[in-house]
């Protein structure tokens, strides 16, 4: 007989023993005894001291014998041996290497800013020949001399006090070494907010501002200032007294331009509209559609009003007469020089080619090219459709209008937006020229008011519309974090900041320029005599003809201009009637 009861009892004990052994095993896995804990990570070695000499030989620098054999492939040039050592007795240290990295970054940015500044300086040649080509031959010497000497007058005025007013309180330029001598801004407190008005460090570049970083910044800002000054000479060409031009230019370089530039770029109140009042990133003007071109354009408007039109420009019934320039070749060549220089104007405004989002310089350059291109298209098509011919001078002005308009938004927008901005600018300049001439009845020989004033303002507004927020220049702009973004990309307050800037240009800067030039007119007299104007300014004002070997076409007295009109211009009008 089988003993089932005994077998069952044995089986139960086996199961229990098995379960007990299993539990013990599980417990041993979840609660590892201290003796079996994983080894702690080895302690990190101490950081090398910044001043401990490094083992340079490990980097295998080329020997003197190697270098003497020449280096056609460039593999032995630029090695650890080229790092500047602060203590030759001690040798290369980590501190030396770290300092060299920082200096390299600043040196790259210095070189970039200076080279682009040199390009902008060369734009003076472009402006000079564009304006001279659009004027009559009898005024060519005078027009060239205005554009030539405006460089010197403006530079001098800017060195004496303009730079200090503009940038004296702009705070450290981080891309140019971060040196902080430009740290004194005159402010007022109004309505509970601080309003920066002008800087007070940097007169004559002396004292603490005798600084390598400040020098680079001065050169770059100076060439921008001079662009604004030269714009005015175009609107007043062919009848502006040279002495009045000199005084007016010095005043603009010393006072008018630097004030607005401080408000926009020098840490002044316009740039702080974002931080103080929540208006986007404050007035944003990447390279100066407003600061440079619109300032020049509204000053040109003031001058055109004060100085009056050229004799013969308008008939008695107010209809305008064309007064074509004497050399389209130099006009369009000048436009190319300007387009070339604009590669310094816009991309250079990053003040950096290393760090702080500076690698966007390629985008800025392409945006600039595209806007200039579509600007010329816009003007060409407008003139061709409306008047039946592709007009050369307006095509050139269309290129310039596109470049002017893209100057402010170039660092903030996409290529497609750039093309649109330029195209609109090209059409706008043609419409504006017609408006200025036929409605306002102002004489602007080169279209300065329309190219720089109208399209400078369009450029300022387009930032508030097209800025797409993708730019990142060190994480903030004007003290507000993030990228600049316009209405089409979700920020209407940026547009408001730009409109405040436009109001400042037309209301503040224009009034300042108008009053200053009105005073100059009272004291010195802005306009030449009618006799000198009809003879051409080269001999009366400059003492020499630009083209002494050419026979210039004699001018006939336009009908409707009588001797009584001379009373307005301080000299009797006595030109005999001649046939052309």
């Amino acid at each position: 007989m089988i003993n089932h009861e005994k077998g069952t009892k044995r089986c139960s004990w086996a199961v229990m023993l098995t379960l007990l052994l299993f539990a013990l095993s599980a417990f041993s896995q979840t609660a590892a005894p201290a003796g079996n804990a994983p080894a702690a990570a080895p302690a990190a070695p101490p950081a090398p001291s910044m001043t401990t000499p490094l083992d340079v030989k490990a980097a295998q620098p080329p020997s003197t014998d190697d270098l003497a054999k020449g280096d056609p492939g460039g593999t032995k040039t630029g090695t650890v041996s080229d790092i500047v050592v602060s203590d030759t007795a001690k040798g290369l240290t980590l501190a030396d290497m770290t300092n060299q990295v920082g200096q390299n970054r600043v040196a790259i940015n210095f070189t970039w800013t200076l080279i682009t500044g040199f390009l902008v300086m060369f734009m003076q040649a472009g402006f000079a020949i564009v304006e001279t080509g659009l004027c009559r031959a009898k005024n060519a010497n005078h027009t060239m001399m205005m554009n030539f000497m405006v460089y010197g007058f403006g530079l001098f005025a800017f060195w004496v006090c303009g730079f200090a007013l503009q940038m004296g309180g702009c705070a450290p330029a981080g891309t140019l070494g971060g040196a902080s001598p430009l740290n004194s801004e005159h402010t007022v407190t109004l309505l509970g907010k601080t309003w920066g008005l002008f800087g007070t460090h940097g007169f004559f570049l002396s004292g603490v501002t005798y600084d390598v970083g400040v020098m680079v910044l001065f050169l770059f800002q100076m060439v921008f200032m001079d662009t604004a000054l030269t714009i005015v000479t175009g609107a007043a060409a062919e009848r502006w007294k040279y002495v009045a031009f000199s005084v007016s230019s010095i005043f603009m370089g010393a006072i008018t331009y630097p004030l607005f530039a401080n408000w926009a770029w020098g840490g002044g109140w316009l740039s702080q509209l974002g931080a103080n009042f929540g208006l986007g990133h404050g007035y944003a003007d990447f390279a100066g559609s407003g600061v440079v071109h619109a300032v020049g354009g509204v000053t040109a408007l003031a001058m055109a009003m004060i100085i009056g039109p050229r004799i013969g420009k308008f008939n008695r019934n107010g209809t305008p007469n064309a007064m074509p320039g004497h050399d389209i070749v130099i006009v369009l060549t000048g436009c190319f020089i300007l387009a070339f220089g604009w590669f310094g104007f816009n991309p250079g405004s990053t003040l950096a080619a290393s760090g702080n989002g500076a690698l966007r310089i390629g985008s800025v350059a392409v945006n600039t090219m595209l806007a200039g291109c579509t600007g010329s298209f816009g003007a060409l098509l407008y003139m061709w459709i409306k008047y039946g011919k592709p007009d050369a001078s307006m095509s050139g002005n269309g290129l310039l209008a596109g470049l002017v308009a893209i100057t402010a938004p170039s660092g903030f927008v996409s290529p497609i937006s750039s093309a649109i901005i330029g195209l609109i600018a090209g059409v706008l300049v043609c419409v504006s020229v017609e408006f200025v001439e036929r409605v306002l009845k102002l004489d602007d020989p080169v279209g300065a008011i329309s190219v720089h004033g109208t399209n400078g303002i369009w450029g300022v507004i387009s930032v508030g519309l097209f800025a797409d927020g993708t730019s990142n220049y060190g994480g903030s702009w004007n003290g507000v974090s993030g990228g600049v973004r316009g209405l089409f990309y979700g920020d209407a307050t940026q547009l408001i900041a730009q409109l405040i800037g436009v109001g400042t240009l037309v209301g503040g800067v224009f009034v300042m320029s108008y009053v200053a030039n009105w005073v100059i007119d009272i004291i010195v007299g802005q306009r030449v005599s009618a006799e000198d104007e009809l003879a051409g300014l080269d001999i009366p004002e400059m003492g020499a003809l630009c083209y002494p070997e050419f026979v210039l076409k004699p001018e006939s007295m336009p009908t409707g201009v009588t001797a009584s009109a001379a009373a307005d211009f301080k000299a009797p009008l006595r030109v005999a009637q001649e046939t052309a």
């Binding site: 309505l191 408001i496 109001g503 037309v506 209301g507 108008y514 201009v561 307005d568």
Partner: protein, 60 residues
Amino acid sequence: MRIAGLLLALAGWLIPIVTVVETQSTTIRLVVSLAGIALTLFGVLVVLNKVHLKQAIWKA
């Protein structure tokens, strides 16, 4: 009239600035900024320019 034109231009500049300080409304700020520019342009291009057109050489 010359002074009137200049004062209108200044008013068109300053009124939007005061408005921006006094109100937080984006719509009001936008409308007043545009109106300010219009006022400035009126002062410069209409009132002030009229003064110069009265004395224009081609009207003599």
